[in-house]
C-alpha cells in the first residue's frame, strides 16, 4: 500500500523540482512554436492542433512521473536526535 502511495505521490527532491519546472517551460514553448510553424508551412491548422497536443502529452510524460533524474540530489538529513546539540553548537559559535 505504501509503495502505491509513493508512486502516486511521485515526490522528487529540490533540484529535481527546479529541473522539472524548467523542462515544463522549455518543452511546452518549443512544442507551441513547432506546432505553429508546422501548421503555417503545411498551410493546415490540423497540424498545429495535433502537434500542440502531442507536445503537451510529451511534456506530461517527461515531467509528471518521478523519473530517477529528478531524485539525484536527495536531501541528507541530520542524524536523528542530534538537532539540539548541533543547533546549540552553531549558536555558540
Amino acid at each position: 500500500m505504501d509503495a502505491i502511495q509513493t508512486l502516486i505521490d511521485g515526490n522528487i527532491d529540490f533540484e529535481g523540482q527546479r529541473l522539472a519546472e524548467r523542462l515544463t517551460t522549455v518543452v511546452l514553448i518549443l512544442a507551441g512554436l513547432t506546432a505553429w510553424l508546422l501548421g503555417f508551412f503545411m498551410q493546415d491548422l490540423k497540424y498545429t492542433l495535433y502537434a500542440g497536443l502531442g507536445g503537451t502529452v510529451l511534456t506530461i510524460l517527461i515531467v509528471v512521473p518521478p523519473w530517477p533524474m529528478y531524485n539525484r540530489h536527495p536531501v541528507s538529513w541530520l542524524p536523528a536526535g542530534s538537532r539540539g546539540e548541533e543547533a546549540g553548537e552553531k549558536k555558540g559559535q
Binding site: E21, I29, G39, V64
Partner: protein, 210 residues
C-alpha cells in the same frame, strides 16, 4: 513541483498559456494574406408581380423575381486559418424622394447567398441563376426605382476575427458611366425595377398578368 499532481497541474496551466499564444499568432497571421476578391454581376432579368405574403393574407404587395449572372473569384480569401466563406448578393435602392408614400430612404435586401466551405468552391460562375429570395419592398411597391447590386463576403476563420467586405459597382465602370461612355459592363450592376407585370412598352396580353 514536489508531487505528480502538482506537476500535472503545472504542465496543464502552462499549456493553456502556450495555446493562447499559438492561437494569437494564428489569428494575426491572416494579415500575411491580403484579401483581393473579384466579382462581376450582371442582372439578366427582373420581374415584378403582385402577390400575398401567405395563403390566408388579404394584404397584397409586390414581389421582385431577379435572375442574374455572377462570376466571382474568392480564392484569395482562403488560407490556413479559413474555416469557411459566406458570400451574398444584395439589392440596394433608395427611397425615391419624389415618390409618394415612400419614406424609407435606404433599402437593402439579400437576394442570394452561399456558404463556400473550401478553396475548391471559391470560384463562382453562375449563369441565369434565379435569386434564392424573392424580395418585397417595405412599403409594398417598387415604383420603378433604380437599384444596384452589391456582392458581399464574410470570412469565418478557425481562430480570430471575422472579416467582411463588399464589392460594389467597380470603380472603372462607374467612371466610364460618369464620362458618358458606353455602359457595357455597368448595366449589369444597375437595373430598374420594371412595373408590375412587365414593361409598358410591350404590354402582355390581358389575363396573363397576375
Amino acid at each position: 513541483m514536489h508531487s505528480s499532481a502538482v506537476r500535472l497541474q503545472n504542465v496543464f496551466g502552462f499549456f493553456t498559456t502556450v495555446s493562447f499564444f499559438v492561437a494569437f499568432l494564428t489569428a494575426i497571421s491572416v494579415l500575411l494574406y491580403p484579401a483581393s476578391p473579384s466579382a462581376d454581376v450582371s442582372v439578366s432579368k427582373v420581374k415584378v408581380i403582385k402577390g400575398r405574403p401567405n395563403y390566408y393574407s388579404s394584404k397584397q404587395q409586390e414581389y421582385a423575381f431577379i435572375t442574374f449572372d455572377l462570376d466571382a473569384d474568392l480564392s484569395s480569401l482562403y488560407n490556413w486559418n479559413t474555416k469557411q466563406v459566406f458570400a451574398w448578393l444584395s439589392v440596394q435602392y433608395d427611397g425615391g424622394e419624389n415618390l409618394r408614400g415612400v419614406k424609407h430612404s435606404e433599402n437593402e435586401a439579400i437576394i442570394w447567398d452561399a456558404i463556400l466551405p473550401s478553396q475548391k468552391t471559391s470560384r463562382l460562375s453562375l449563369r441565369n441563376e434565379k435569386a434564392k429570395y424573392n424580395i418585397n419592398d417595405i412599403a409594398g411597391k417598387f415604383l420603378e426605382r433604380n437599384a444596384t447590386v452589391r456582392f458581399g463576403w464574410n470570412v469565418q476563420p478557425h481562430v480570430g476575427a471575422l472579416t467582411w467586405g463588399v464589392i460594389e459597382v467597380p470603380n472603372a465602370v462607374a467612371q466610364e458611366e460618369e464620362e458618358g461612355k458606353k455602359k457595357k459592363k455597368g448595366e449589369g450592376w444597375r437595373f430598374t425595377f420594371p412595373p408590375v407585370g412587365g414593361r409598358k412598352k410591350s404590354p402582355s396580353p390581358p389575363g396573363t398578368s397576375v
